[in-house]
Amino acid sequence: MIKNLDQTNVTAGREGSSLLLSHRAQRQQRITGLLGSGFLLAVTSLSTFAVLFIFYFIARDALPFFQLQGFKQFFTSTHWYPSASVPEFGALSIFIGSGLVTLGAVLVAVPLGITAAVCLSDVLPFSVRQVVKPVIEMLAAIPSVAYGFFALVVFAPLLQEQGGHILKVASWIIGSPIALLTIVVASDMLTDRMSSVHRARARWTWMTVLSAVAFWGLWHLGNSLGSITITSGTNALNVSIILGIMALPTVVSVAEDAIQATGRELREGSYALGATRSETILKTIIPAASSGIIAAVILGVMRAVGETMVVWMASGNAAQIPQPWYNVLQPVRTLTATIAGDMGEADQATGSARFHVLFAMALCLLLFSFACNLASEWGVRRTRRKVGR
């Protein structure tokens, strides 16, 4: 940016000399140019410095915690009693809570988001896309407290009253398409090497058998899920679903950009080789855009891990590791909610380890999102290089 500016200045200077400007005017021009680019540099670096300052101040308040309490308890204990007379700062369950909720959100947002991105860029007609994409992006404009209110007041009681039915229906909705795809692919693979005489019949037999097995499996899964009663609706599942919806616009929009960026040539080349539309999408477009799609997923993860209001309102905030660990029907506590909820009391006057522990958590979050940011940047760059742009 600055280099460019300097170059234009130099050329401007040269043109000046051909028009016989005085030395003074030339110097003036150069100084104005320098001042201008300096000002732009300062403005640009302002936001960079802001990030560095945040990093510095959080680290400055986080390190005293480790000096006071050491690393072991913080990372390995599940006893979180910061306000007790002998305070304990075991954050393991809180880390796991954050991880579980984020994993859940990714499981919701990624399949939906990538399917939607493919659909928007390659399946729907352009005019429809122009309407649908802004609507999806509007999800990002809803304030998170509104999502939290919905999760607490509408979704949590619904899960408590109709939890079994909801899980049953959801297992069918998610399970059937996956089962169908698996059946088609599996029967294809199993009959691939057969001679063409028997192939069609064998394929149909396999499909029938596998469908029966899948139906039986889904039926039992649905029934066992249907008999579950959810005692508390503010739990990891509730928050995962809501966070997944919140991360959806990010995933869709970045993944769609990446898929678009693969370009027309690639698609036309694929069609020219006789590939169908689905083969083009599955075997050419998605692999070509894979790094960009990974970047989309990482950005979605960052959105979910950093969200505060929804988890504070609707995750239950219980500092425990669910039993077993993947039991999303139990309440969990996340890093962000702990920071938000405990900040008020965590005064230096009322016990400084309690104050610094929140900054230690913030530092962990910051380092995590920093790593994610780098990874997604790498992903986006790789896509660009791959497609040659």
């Binding site: 936001s47 990030v51 009681p157 309102m313 219980a318 139990q330 006057a349 009322t350």
Partner: protein
């Protein structure tokens, strides 16, 4: 995300500056603190501003701990608290050159609440403590249905939690599976919609839920005043030094002693002091 954080920090800084500038002006009163005392402070503020047009009172509810902090930082004139100031807070105030004066404005009982469909109507303090510390985990153990108890607590930042912690738990640690929520209203909302839940709230927040007798005594104004109900506490307002007679601040803080003030306190669901 980072940008948003930046903006938040700037806004917070600006907000602090503004409230610090406002505190100290004789006709501007800034009140901050407990969400329990909040309704009283708001009703007082409305009444007082109605009587004195020149006075402007802002009431925030950010928790007792934050109220104390604001008073110490001279960011408010009145800190409302649902627990007495801790020694550490008093010391911090002293160090900041602030003399925190205590006014007991009303009494409050903590109701232990369950879902209306719950058959229990009485628990002992020991049973409540066992539920909250994880010794009793199923309503079956208390003669109810076979349902896991959903234990709901206020966040550790609130005065309500502090009171419950001292009055009921006696500093025993809450069980790991206990859910924490951020306000009295949120506890009521959760208990109202969750069959197996138990929670605790201020006396004013029991609409739509069933409040239990504790040790056989029902929570009410009479039992709290007679000191027979075991989970009760005074509510406080703190000011910096004694209020000067005739100032708006003095009038506002001492409203609780007037007949009109007592009526307001009763209307908001608390018990006026005698």
């Amino acid at each position: 995300m980072k940008k948003i954080n930046n903006i938040m920090m700037i806004l917070a800084a600006v907000g602090m500056g503004v409230s610090a500038a406002v505190a100290g002006d004789a006709n501007n009163i800034v009140v901050d603190g407990s969400t329990t005392v909040g309704p009283i402070a708001k009703a007082f503020a409305e009444y007082y501003m109605g009587k004195h047009q020149a006075v402007n009172i802002t009431v925030s509810e950010s928790g007792s701990g934050n109220g104390a902090k604001s008073l110490i930082n001279a960011a408010c004139d009145v800190a409302t608290m649902s627990r007495p100031m801790k020694n550490s807070e008093k010391k911090a105030a002293q160090d900041a050159g602030i003399l925190a004066i205590e006014h007991i404005v009303a009494l409050d009982g903590l109701s232990v609440i369950v879902h209306p469909s719950n058959p229990r109507s009485n628990l002992t303090i020991e049973q409540i403590r066992d539920i909250y510390t994880g010794k009793i985990t199923n309503w079956k153990e208390l003669g109810g249905q076979d349902q896991k108890i959903v234990v709901i607590s206020r966040d550790t930042n609130s005065g309500t939690y502090e009171s419950f912690n001292t009055l009921v738990l006696q500093e025993a640690k809450l069980k790991g599976g206990a859910e924490y929520v951020g306000s009295n209203g949120a506890i009521r909302q959760r208990v109202m919609s969750t069959e197996a839940a138990i929670g605790y709230v201020g006396l004013a927040f029991t609409e739509g839920v069933k409040s239990l007798k504790v040790n056989g005594v029902a929570p009410s104004a009479e039992t709290v005043l007679a000191k027979t109900y075991p989970i009760a506490r005074p509510l406080y307002m703190y000011t910096n030094g004694r209020t000067k007679e005739g100032t708006a601040l003095d009038g506002f803080v001492n409203l609780y002693q007037t007949a009109e003030g007592k009526r307001i306190i009763e209307d908001t669901g608390f018990i006026p002091v005698k």
